[in-house]
């Protein structure tokens, strides 16, 4: 219990620090985001308009930094992340809300699938060393060692384009309106298949390898020999004595990769021009859209923290040794 409290406290503190840094950073970096917007408007703004822009972005020079910090928190608690430069005057929060579901659906589902599939293959490969499954490992390792950019481009060249069966970019057919109707969903699935498969190919081998190695290590543990000696079925020994324990180290790795889902697999989304958060970040950087970058970074940081917190909780459930009091 006290362990849980300590962890919760730790994560709250870290989140606070991250949010504060997010507040300070744009105020510390040289250059002025409002200036860059003004420059873009090429002198067509009045002094009054400029002043109201500063207020709008929370960079009001007339307020002390502490008052600004207070405003910042108040805005944050209302889900207000400021206004985007590039999509001015759309709020950052709604820009993010538009792209986040795409990333969550594509990268979230593939991360989960990659973990489940890779771990299952790793369990079997570790349990039956020397079987045909050992052939899977060099293949997947090769695929994961190919730089992702390449893998994506090759996939596009092979399967997409003029003669291809898959679209090479975007999240859905341009003519369609996003919604829960069959046409749109079908198109979205079709657009996500190629990026999804390339993510799977490049990320699965990590799970296979780490699970396989842990299985080999755990299979030599005394309690596995005891389980065999007890005459338990092969399946029971493999699942509940070997795999159950071999899984533990993978849990934190999985949590970490879940946390990174929100950031999107930047490269994937760039290669496939996928309308997710990663692609959004890429565009924000290009457009010097500081509020948007800031908002995306904040979301990424918080989701990494949340994922780690979930990993801690999972550990608590999966490994009774962490439940020790005190």
């Amino acid at each position: 219990m006290s362990y849980l409290l300590r962890r919760t406290g730790f994560y709250l503190l870290t989140a606070w620090i991250a949010i504060t840094i997010n507040f300070l950073l744009p105020r510390l970096i040289p250059g002025d985001p409002v200036m860059s917007l003004i420059n873009r408007a090429q002198g067509q703004l009045s002094t009054q308009a400029i002043q109201s822009l500063y207020v709008l972005f929370g960079l009001n020079k007339d307020e002390s930094i502490f008052v600004q910090y207070g405003h910042y928190w108040a805005q944050l608690l209302h889900g207000d992340l400021g206004l985007s430069f590039a999509f001015f005057p759309t709020p950052v929060a709604s820009v993010i809300a538009d792209s986040l579901p795409w990333t969550l659906a594509l990268v979230g589902i593939t991360t989960l699938a990659s973990f489940l599939l890779g771990t299952a293959l790793g369990v079997y490969a570790g349990w039956r060393r020397g079987s045909w499954l050992d052939l899977v490992i060099p293949v997947t390792t090769f695929l994961s060692s190919v730089p992702y950019f390449w893998l994506g481009l090759i996939a596009i060249a092979l399967f997409a384009g003029v003669n291809g069966i898959f679209p090479s970019s975007g999240g859905y057919e341009p003519g369609l309106v996003p919604g829960w109707d069959p046409d749109f969903l079908l198109s979205a699935v079709q657009h996500s298949l190629l990026p999804a498969v390339t993510i799977l190919l490049s990320s699965m081998s990590g799970w296979i390898l780490s699970m396989r190695n842990m299985m080999v290590t755990v299979a030599a543990e005394d309690y596995v020999t005891v389980a065999h000696a007890k005459g338990l079925s092969e399946r029971r020994v493999m699942v509940s004595y070997a795999a159950r324990n071999a899984l533990l180290p993978s849990v934190s790795g999985f949590a970490l990769s879940l946390g990174l889902v929100v950031g999107g697999t930047l490269l994937v989304e760039i290669v496939f021009s996928y309308p997710g958060l990663g692609f959004e970040l890429f565009q924000a950087v290009g457009a010097k859209d500081y509020p948007l970058m800031q908002g995306i970074f904040l979301i990424i940081t918080l989701s990494v923290l949340a994922a780690n917190f979930v990993a801690d909780l999972a550990y608590l459930v999966l490994d009774p040794r962490t439940r020790r009091e005190g």
């Binding site: 005394d222 309690y223 389980a227 000696a229 007890k230 999966l318 009774p320």
Partner: protein, 331 residues
């Protein structure tokens, strides 16, 4: 002479194949009788664990059984060779007829499962028709048998002391009322007081429940006290076999003699520790003849050339004794 429970005949176990293989167990003949405690002693690396793993077919890779038989004599029915059982038959045989308490007391329990889970899953595997309540009741009984309060069922292994964990393993070993319990250095990791407590308890249980025990240790003085018969192992072979009292009184093989005097006696006057000079043989390049000859104070002409056979020594009236040493050639 009482009935035979288990006969090991000409058992050979190697680690690895071909040139590089290590012959860890060589031509071992050993008989376990109903209800007895048979002690197996020898320095570390002499092949005791390999023998135990071999006869239960639990050898870790790259261990392979190269030859021999392990004949089990059930109370009813025909004797059969354990090494010839199919996988399914073997699973049914394991734990129900022979259970094992391993050397690694600390690691024999899976850290992520409760004690109750680990006690009941063996019951469920062998008695699929049993109810959950019946299995839990049996688990409680088993803990009571080894003197552990029933509320420990809900504990995880890390919440128990080393001694308690080993007791749980002994209770678990008795779950299916096996005929044979093999104990491979079950108490080596524990302190002396706890060791003796547990062994005393074990001997009591054996009298009540009537199983036989193959007790493996490198501590011969422990065996002299707790076992009926003792076999001594050296370089993968059995070099002497005798009743515990007989061996203690008068060991014939120079290696047995050395072992007996390597440990201070637990009872009686303390003797000088002598130990055995030299180190155990390298299994990859065994000495010719008697493997013990480089370390033997009595080594003489035939020892270097020919392997002495294990057999009853000539001119000895007492029965049930065999030795492999040229000083006491077989009759």
């Amino acid at each position: 002479m009482s009935e035979i429970e288990l006969e090991i005949k000409g058992l050979n176990v190697d680690y690895g194949l071909g040139e590089q293989s290590v012959h860890a167990v060589r031509d071992v003949d050993l008989t376990l009788r109903r209800g007895e405690v048979l002690g197996l002693a020898g320095e570390s690396g002499s092949g005791k664990s390999t023998l135990a793993y071999g006869l239960t077919r639990l050898l870790p890779p790259p261990g392979v059984i190269r030859g021999g038989q392990v004949i089990y004599h059930p109370e009813q029915g025909e004797p059969f060779d354990v090494l010839g059982l199919s996988d399914r038959q073997l699973r049914a045989f394991r734990w129900a007829q022979t259970s094992i308490v391993f050397q690694g007391a600390m690691n024999s329990l899976n850290p992520v499962h409760k004690i109750s889970t680990q006690l009941t899953d063996v019951l469920r595997a062998h008695e699929p028709g049993s109810t959950r309540a019946a299995r839990l009741a049996r688990a409680r009984e088993l803990l009571a048998l080894v003197g552990i309060p029933a509320d420990r069922l809900d504990s995880y292994p890390h919440q128990l002391s080393g001694g308690m964990r080993q007791r749980v393993m002994i209770g678990m070993a008795l779950a299916l009322r096996p005929k044979i319990v093999i104990m491979d250095e079950p108490t080596t990791a524990l302190d002396v007081v706890v060791q003796r407590q547990i062994l005393g308890q074990l001997v009591g249980l054996r009298e009540r429940l009537g199983f036989s025990v193959l007790f493996i240790t490198h501590d011969l003085s422990l065996l002299v006290e707790f076992s009926d018969r003792i076999a001594i192992m050296y370089g993968g072979r059995i070099v002497e076999q005798a009743s515990a009292a007989g061996l203690h009184k008068d060991s014939l093989h120079p290696y047995s003699h050395g072992l007996l005097h390597s440990f201070p006696a637990l009872r009686g006057p303390r003797e000088e520790l002598s130990g055995i000079p030299g180190s155990p043989p390298d299994l990859r390049s065994m000495p010719t003849g008697c493997a013990f000859h480089p370390r033997c104070p009595h080594s003489f002409d035939p020892c270097v050339r020919r392997v002495p056979e294990l057999g009853a020594p000539q001119g000895r009236p007492e029965q049930d004794r065999s030795v492999a040493c040229w000083l006491h050639p077989a009759s």
